[in-house]
Symmetry: C2
Subunit: 199 residues, 2 copies
C-alpha cells in the first residue's frame, strides 16, 4: 500500500519497544505531517545521544562522562552497592530517595531462553569491585520475575564466601493497590514477608 | 536525574503521538543500548522519508511523486471522490477493497476547540475538483466523532447546490463485536440504519 520511504519509516519505527504496527503508522504519519525542523531535531537528538552516551567505566550505568554521576558523587555511601539489571532501574531507585550508596548495572539477567548466561553480564566486574573490602553490603535489586530471581540466587551464592551482607528487595503488595486484585504469588510473598507491628 | 543528551532524547520521543513519558524512557534506553548502525539507520530513515514524501498535488494524500498512486492509476473510477480527514484513512479504506474511486484528504476536521475552521482544510481544492462535472458522487468518510460529523454536515450543505450524490458512511455495530458491549449511541445508530433482509 505505501510508497517506499513511508513503508521504510513505519518498518523502522515498529522495531522500537512497545510500538506495534498501528502505533508505528500513527507516528510515521505524524512525522510526515510535522514541521521539518522538529523532525530534523528528533533525528539529530537520536544520533547525538547515541554518540555521546556510553557505559560508566565503574558501574555500567549510562553516562556522558567516563564515570557516571552517582559514581562521581562524593556524598554517596561507598560501602553499599545496589545491583540492578538495567540503567532504567537506577533511575527508578534514585526516584525513591531511599538509597544513598552506589550501583552496579548487570546489563540484563540470566536467561537460558535468550541464551544469556552469567558470563554475558557484568558480574566479573562486580566481583572485582568487591575485592578491596570497601563494600560491606550488596543489595540485589534484580526484577521480581523468573530471570531476576535466578540472577539474584546465582549472585547470592557467588558472593556468599566474601562474607558481605547480601540482601534482596522485599516482595509484597504494591502500595495503593487492592488486595483483592493481587495475584496469588504476590499475595503469598506478602504473607511470607509479613512484619510485626507495634503493640 | 538524567544527563543532558539522554533527557533530550526522552523529551523528543515523548512528543510523538501515543508515547508517554514511560514509553519514551523505554525507547530511549533501547536506542542507547542498540547497535549504532541500527540507530543511524532509524535517524536516516526519518530524515529521508521527511525529505521525499509530500502531499499529492490533486488529492493531498502523501506521495513521493507529484501526484499519488491512486490519482495516477488509470483504472480508478473518476466519477467518485471519497473525502477523508487524513492520509491514514486512505490506507484504511484501500485495505477494504470496497472503493475504486478517488480520494480527497482534508488535512483534519473542523474543530473550534483546536481553532481549526473550514479555511484550514483542503475544502476549496475539493470544490475546484468538482467543477468540471466529472465527479458525480461524493462519499463523506470523515470520522464518526463530533469533529468528523460537523465537517460532514458542513460539506454536505456546501455541496448541496452542485446537484451531486453526497453520502456518508454507515454507522452501526462493528462486525465481530458484541451487542451487549456496544455503546448506546452506536446501538442507536444501528437501529436507525437497520436494513430489510430477504423474506
Amino acid at each position: 500500500m505505501y510508497d517506499g520511504p513511508i513503508q521504510d519509516l513505519i518498518g523502522e519505527l515498529s522495531r522500537l519497544p512497545g510500538i506495534g504496527p498501528k502505533g508505528a503508522q500513527r507516528i510515521a504519519f505524524h512525522l510526515l505531517d510535522a514541521d521539518p525542523d522538529d523532525v530534523t531535531s528528533l533525528a539529530e537528538t537520536i544520533v547525538r545521544a547515541k554518540r555521546l552516551v556510553h557505559f560508566c567505566r565503574v558501574c555500567f550505568n549510562l553516562t556522558e562522562e567516563e564515570t557516571c554521576r552517582v559514581c562521581q558523587d562524593p556524598r554517596r555511601e561507598r560501602s553499599q552497592i545496589c545491583v540492578v539489571e538495567e540503567s532504567q532501574d537506577v533511575v527508578a531507585i534514585e526516584r525513591t530517595r531511599e538509597f544513598r550508596g552506589l550501583y552496579h548495572v548487570l546489563g540484563g539477567a540470566i536467561s537460558p531462553i535468550d541464551n544469556r548466561g552469567p558470563a554475558d553480564l557484568h558480574i566479573r566486574e562486580l566481583v572485582q569491585r568487591l575485592e578491596d573490602g570497601t563494600v560491606t553490603e550488596v543489595i540485589l535489586a534484580t526484577n521480581p520475575n523468573t530471570e531476576g530471581e535466578v540472577t539474584a540466587t546465582y549472585l547470592s551464592r557467588l558472593l556468599a564466601p566474601l562474607g558481605l551482607e547480601v540482601s534482596r528487595l522485599a516482595s509484597g503488595l504494591p502500595v495503593g493497590g487492592d488486595l483483592e486484585y493481587a495475584d496469588e504469588i504476590t499475595l503469598g510473598r506478602a504473607f511470607a514477608g509479613r512484619r510485626t507491628v507495634g503493640a
